[in-house]
């Protein structure tokens, strides 16, 4: 007799799985990684390898010896956390700091809550913020971009300011006078900053791929970018001397990276479209508040982490409309 499988319906399933989703996001980050390698050379490669390997190793060790459960490091989520963490820190960060950050990201940000799908906060951002408050100097000393063709792959890093750093310290007038702070340079990545966030074009390329493959929903990033644009736009209209134009705010700092790759993390963000829009609005508003009046030049990671905490509440508030429960108001 044949050994048939008994299972509840449905008996067919879509070919989607968690692994595919994670690897697609990693694939979407590749263009930005290449740009980073081009601008930061050896440092970028070193940092990426360190964070990715440490993240995967931490997850493996915890699953092997602490949880003693199934090993799931192949699902790509740990590698993705490592990659995103690397994208969010200066390329010339000392190796040991990167290791500490990765261990915190996976150990405290993810595994302490029970692993994939159970963490309330984006693990990569937990790692980043931990490093930012622990090693403030190292985390805000940004290497200047120097294309590998001009200085070579292993060239020493030269540190310099980021646009948002200049804005915070010297004000909008200084920023607009600097000639290498042109919009085109910003978009192409020819500027200072964390290594993954510099090139908006490369990031958008990946984002478009993700949207086309339906891995991420456009609602969250759109809502974030629109909120930032409108808020900073209002201030720009009021006082164009002290506030920079909203389109600069969009491309400066980690907004594109955060909006498309961190705020769309399925685990830590709301599920319904309405919830996503509210989440995006919150992230955008908090980012602008920190950028304009906060102590830090950049606030995307704080904004996302704060809104992560609100996700369960938003999920509760914005439930989908159950079929047949519309009140017959028309009749």
């Amino acid at each position: 007799m044949n050994n048939y499988t008994i299972s509840g319906s449905p008996h067919v399933h879509s070919t989607e799985n968690t692994r595919k989703i994670m690897y697609r996001v990693i694939l979407a980050l590749i263009p930005a990684l290449l740009v980073a390698l081009y601008y930061f050379g050896w440092y970028a490669l070193r940092l990426t390898l360190v964070t990715v390997i440490t993240c995967m190793l931490t997850e493996w060790l915890i699953q092997m010896f602490l949880i003693k459960g199934p090993i799931t490091i192949n699902d790509g989520s740990a590698a993705l956390t490592g990659l995103l963490l690397a994208f969010n820190v200066p390329a010339n960060l000392p190796v040991w700091m990167a290791i500490v950050g990765s261990v915190v990201a996976i150990g405290i940000g993810k595994m302490a809550f029970g692993g994939l799908g159970k963490n309330p906060f984006n693990p990569a951002l937990v790692g980043r913020v931990f490093m930012l408050v622990s090693f403030p100097t190292a985390m805000t000393t940004w290497p200047q971009v120097q294309p590998i063709f001009s200085k070579g792959f292993f060239a020493d890093a030269v540190t310099g300011p980021t646009p948002l750093g200049i804005l915070k310290e010297s004000g909008a007038e200084t920023l607009s006078q600097l000639d290498n702070m042109q919009f085109l340079d910003m978009v192409l990545g020819n500027r200072g900053g964390a290594f993954g966030e510099i090139c908006a074009i490369a990031l958008l390329l990946g984002a478009i791929y993700l949207i086309c493959r339906k891995v991420i929903d456009i609602a969250t990033p759109l809502s974030i970018l629109l909120t930032v644009f409108v808020f900073t736009g209002i201030f720009y209209l009021i006082d164009p001397i002290h506030y920079i134009a909203p389109w600069y705010h969009i491309v400066y700092g980690g907004l594109i990276l955060g909006a498309f790759f961190m705020a769309t993390d399925m685990v830590t963000t709301p599920m319904t479209t309405k919830g996503k829009i509210l989440f995006g609005f919150g992230v955008g508003a908090i980012t602008v508040v920190i950028r304009l009046w906060g102590a830090y030049p950049e606030g995307v990671s704080f904004a996302i982490l704060i809104m992560n905490a609100f996700t369960p509440l938003i999920n509760k508030a914005f439930k989908p409309q159950v079929f047949g429960t519309v009140k017959p108001s028309k009749q």
Partner: protein, 451 residues
């Protein structure tokens, strides 16, 4: 052609795989012995009214309906009752059944018209039609096997505005309704007229998914050729999307009305009847022929001859599989019905019944990675749910046996279409848990209402 309509909320689009769409219906030769289960509908099994050794005629009543939601069972063949015993149904449970040793020649019970002639004159009135439907044991043949006469009885104070014929056949693989529409077009349309007369309305709408264009064209052509005879019948093309053929979804798609939560479709003035049931109603009312046969699709990716058989009830399913080219080597899963809502089969010797719309042979899950991982809260299940539920949440609370919470989150509105589980990237058996929760919650609500 009318503009294409669809339901808006949720839905998925699985591979259609309608391999047997071009296979004409073949009459399936009957074996020596047939096994007729007495419980062939959703409700209580019928009471057996024949004894061992009795000679029964084809179409003779052998089991009478017990209770309100129940249907009569008729003998699908002429022969002697060998025994009244139990037989394993597709689940492997033993169910009462009548074993009939068949005679070579069909001898029809008196009063049944056996000719193929199309009878266009509806002699019975509304009430008599419903009585006839009840007498002939007709049930919803899409798979749910809900007695049709119960559906057609419009309660006091309600009015049926539309008869909706559910020809969506949104289940992948299955083609039995499609073939019936192509080959018995006129009879089917007469059936629609009869249902319209039965429930007392002038409007009949046939909802068909656009992946069945030949059927849509043929139906429209036939209606146009006989405008008098088929007055009031409309063909409504629907977008190919699962679960377009869900009762609530098809009403929403066609009329734009939503069946209120916890209420019956008649609240929206609609009576929804399946294609095969419509044809059976034609045969019952015009020819006095009880429900003793149906079209069964036997299909699968690796089967040699995907086929549509006209098969009397009680024929063991393995004979049908044999006729379709035998059981291929790589089969891991045999399904009674379609892949989205059908049931796994434990033994292939189960007898075909009123609800057996298809026998589907599945290969090794098409080499998919089916390992279960943690929920990543992607919300795809909620997006796919045509009822606007949150399957991930229902799964969680059902697992925790928190049945207050399942009820609050409308678990009873789940139509068990399986869209959530189909779409889940973490391969969580969402629907298993939801069904469990639904059964438990339903029992709690029932107990509470009895107090």
């Amino acid at each position: 052609m009318n503009p294409i309509k669809t339901f808006k909320k949720g839905g998925v689009h699985p591979e259609e795989n309608k391999f047997s769409a071009d296979q004409p219906i073949q009459d399936f030769p009957m074996p020596k012995q047939i096994i007729v289960p007495l419980g062939q509908c959703l409700g209580a099994p019928a009471d057996c009214i024949v004894n061992k050794g009795d000679r029964v005629l084809t179409g003779q009543l052998i089991g009478t309906a017990k209770g309100f939601v129940s249907a009569n069972v008729h003998s699908p063949a002429t022969g002697t009752v060998a025994k009244i015993d139990v037989v394993m149904d597709h689940t492997g449970y033993y169910k009462p059944a009548v074993f009939i040793d068949r005679e070579e020649q069909d001898e029809w019970a008196p009063g049944i018209i056996v000719t193929d002639e199309l009878l266009t004159d509806i002699k019975l009135d509304g009430k008599a039609i419903i009585d006839k439907v009840k007498e002939c044991g007709i049930v919803g043949m899409g798979g749910a096997t809900f007695p049709t006469h119960v559906k057609m009885m419009v309660p006091e104070g309600k009015k049926a505005e539309y008869v909706i014929i559910n020809a969506a056949e949104c289940e992948p693989y299955l083609t039995c309704d499609y073939r019936l529409l192509l080959e018995k077009t006129q009879e089917f349309l007469m059936g629609v007229k009869i249902v319209m007369k039965g429930v007392g309305t002038e409007h009949g709408i046939i909802g068909i998914e656009t992946n069945k264009m030949p059927a849509i064209e043929l139906l429209e052509k036939t209606i146009k050729a006989h405008p008098e005879r088929y007055a009031g019948i409309e063909v409504q093309p629907l977008k190919t999307k699962y679960p377009q053929g869900g009762e609530k979804q098809i009403i929403k798609a066609i009329t734009g009305r939503e069946v209120p939560s916890g209420k019956l479709p008649i609240e929206t003035g609609c009576v929804v009847v399946n294609v095969a049931s419509t044809f059976a109603i034609y045969e019952a009312v015009q020819k006095n022929k009880p429900l003793i046969e149906r079209i069964v699709t036997v299909t699968g990716k690796s089967i040699k001859k995907p086929s549509n058989f006209r098969c009397r009830f009680g024929v063991p399913a393995d004979l049908l599989i044999e006729a379709a080219g035998g059981l291929p080597e790589d089969i891991t899963d045999v399904i009674n019905g379609g892949p989205m809502m059908g049931k796994s089969v434990s033994v292939t010797s189960f007898p075909t019944m009123k609800g057996t719309s298809g026998i589907l042979l599945m290969t090794l899950r098409d080499a998919q990675d089916r390992r279960q991982t943690n929920c990543i809260r992607c919300g795809r299940c909620a997006k796919a749910c045509p009822m606007g539920l949150q399957p991930f949440l229902l799964h969680k609370v059902a697992k925790l046996n928190d049945f207050d919470e399942t009820e609050k989150n409308h678990i009873m509105d789940c139509i068990e279409c399986g869209s959530c589980e189909y779409t889940c990237p973490a391969n969580i058996p969402l629907l298993d848990y939801i069904r469990y929760g639904k059964a438990k919650t339903g029992a709690i609500i029932k107990a509470r209402n009895q107090k």
